[in-house]
């Protein structure tokens, strides 16, 4: 998603990351109890996971996140009029790339004075679902995140090996 942000930055497309609740809380990044802690976790997202887009932090009660459906990793696109024009219950860079190409073409057609009318389309997109990579990502959170996920959705791929991460974060 960082690459998508860079790709379209010169076309008038801004990209931000909106920090929500912790989807898979664990020892290193436990559930949130304060805004101070939420800012610290957001900083770790920037510094450890390399999110280079501006990060906006939601209120501790997730007012914005909850209003938009509170999915753990969704993406929305808005136009300048403040209308949502794309919403996806999961984030996939290919899907967002495809949508932005389409909307930038709409902007070009508008500049050419083509008469356009909106309509709604539903489409099923497909994302990469590398379960081993997902489990490896969970290890960054702490052992609890792996154990909770296994209890909820079953065992990891046989190639998965638990690797302990460095020291625990912070609960306030």
């Amino acid at each position: 998603m960082n690459a998508i942000a860079d790709k379209y930055a010169e076309d008038g497309v801004a990209s931000v990351f909106l920090y929500t609740n912790e989807a898979h809380p664990a020892e290193r990044y436990p559930h949130l109890v304060s805004m101070e802690q939420k800012f610290r976790h957001a900083a770790a997202l920037r510094d450890e996971l390399g999110v280079s887009r501006p990060i906006l932090v939601d209120a501790l009660d997730g007012a914005c996140h909850r209003a938009y459906g509170s999915m753990p990793n969704m993406t929305w696109i808005f136009n300048r009029a403040g209308q949502a024009i794309y919403k996806s219950d999961w984030t996939d860079a290919n899907s967002v790339d495809n949508a932005l190409e389409y909307y930038l073409d709409i902007s070009r057609r508008r500049k050419d004075r083509e008469t356009l009318a909106p309509f709604t389309v539903q489409r099923l997109d497909y994302r990469n679902a590398d379960r081993l990579a997902f489990f490896n990502g969970l290890t960054l959170n702490g052992r609890q995140a792996v154990d909770d996920f296994i209890k909820a959705f079953g065992p990891p791929p046989s190639a998965f090996r638990w690797q302990d991460q460095d020291s625990a974060d912070d609960a306030d």
């Binding site: 609740n21 900083a43 909820a152």
Partner: protein, 70 residues
């Protein structure tokens, strides 16, 4: 803002009875109508208050990825 809401939204373990109630994409805002706006805070030295509106009104399009470290 109630303490119950804060505790339930910021659940402490990923178990279905705690995370499933928040999966409400089917109740999310419709496309093509005025989207709800909320105060947000920038990660940075000043933690300045901002909002979705401030961002979408200054750009042709605004991409918002929701998520967390975990």
């Amino acid at each position: 803002m109630t303490s119950d809401l804060l505790r339930q939204y910021n659940y402490d373990e990923f178990v279905p009875e705690k995370f499933m109630p928040w999966m409400r994409f089917d109740e999310s805002p419709e496309l093509g109508v005025a989207a709800p706006d909320f105060p947000l805070w920038r990660l940075g030295a000043d933690r300045a208050q901002t909002s979705l509106k401030e961002w979408w009104s200054e750009n042709l399009y605004l991409v918002v990825e929701f998520g967390s470290f975990t």
